[in-house]
Symmetry: C2
Subunit: 192 residues, 2 copies
């Protein structure tokens, strides 16, 4: 059977903001400027950054991704969470109900979020064309095998199918480090 090879990208800590929260942090009428476009069409890293504060520590200069979303969400690794002293749940993006509280500090104001901090669940963005070809369904849990000195098989990888997606696996840097997936050519194989 044909096996799907996928690019693996590390996803560093980052923040999605509502328009309202963006203006609280940066001032009325503020707009995010794209600094670098990401693998998912339309998504970009902006040049705007804020500090993230928890009960035990602060992480300075965390990147804000654009465009604005209908929810404010802070995606962290467990390494980050330990620095901040918070206990975020493992969630898919957008599923923030009851997630960890955290404070954002921008140049024009601060936002004390009652919830919003998560550790992203491992996920495979997959194009509709690839999903059809390999018979992978939206929300299906797949395994991704990687080789090398720290080879492993990631289980619990959720597939997210869209005709707007490039096919790519997103892991956080704890996961990237655990598998030693350094460099621009990290790839994995989808097992099923």
């Amino acid at each position: 059977m044909k096996q799907l090879q996928v690019t693996i990208e590390g996803s560093g800590r980052h923040i999605h903001l509502t328009k309202e929260c963006l203006e609280t942090l940066f001032g009325a009428g503020y707009e995010l400027e794209p600094k670098k476009f990401l693998s998912q069409p339309g998504e970009f890293a902006s040049s705007s950054k804020v500090d993230v504060v928890g009960p035990k520590g602060t992480i300075k200069g965390v990147s804000i991704l654009g465009p604005c979303r209908p929810f404010t969400q802070v995606e962290l690794s467990f390494t980050d969470a330990r620095i901040l002293g918070i206990n975020p749940p493992i969630r898919q993006s957008g599923n923030i109900a009851g997630s960890a509280p955290v404070t954002l500090i921008g140049p024009a104001g601060k936002a004390e979020l009652k919830e919003g901090a998560i550790v992203a669940k491992r996920h495979l963005h997959i194009s509709k064309a690839d999903a059809d070809e390999y018979g992978i369904k939206n929300e299906e849990i797949v395994q991704i095998k990687v080789g090398g000195e720290r080879g492993l098989i990631f289980d619990e990888v959720v597939a997210r199918v869209s005709d707007k997606f490039e096919t790519v696996v997103h892991l956080d840097y704890d996961e990237i480090n655990a598998a030693a997936l350094f460099g621009d050519n990290a790839v994995g194989t989808v097992l099923r």
Copy 2:
């Protein structure tokens, strides 16, 4: 077939020192005092700490394990390595030839190590009795499966058999975080 269940322990950054290096850092005649005994018989965390310095940063207060060894070795995670700005290889303990240089700073002096910083290769300490019962040989590569929200199968786990060992898997905190193996009851299953 009977499967071996093993306890999984996180192994934080730590340092092993030669007696000579210990005296360079802390002064002539200095002795390490056991603060906490570890799962491997005779090994202990001491109350002595030094700073580890690399070209890009410093990690303060890194624990020294005892007793002294015939080599000086600094075991780090890739998260730590990035803070320091060094590029350590993945190695078994004791195999430090050509590993990364790093500087240690103690209260009485400093040691500029030409080599010695490694990222520990995942390993399974296994008692002779368990190894015999499950047919696992010294230096054999095994897989360890863990469940939960970040379930995965660690490949490239080297088995180290000794009648002096407790049976336990040692991972660094990048690996612990990647698999969300928190709490005192983390276990895995050896696959073969």
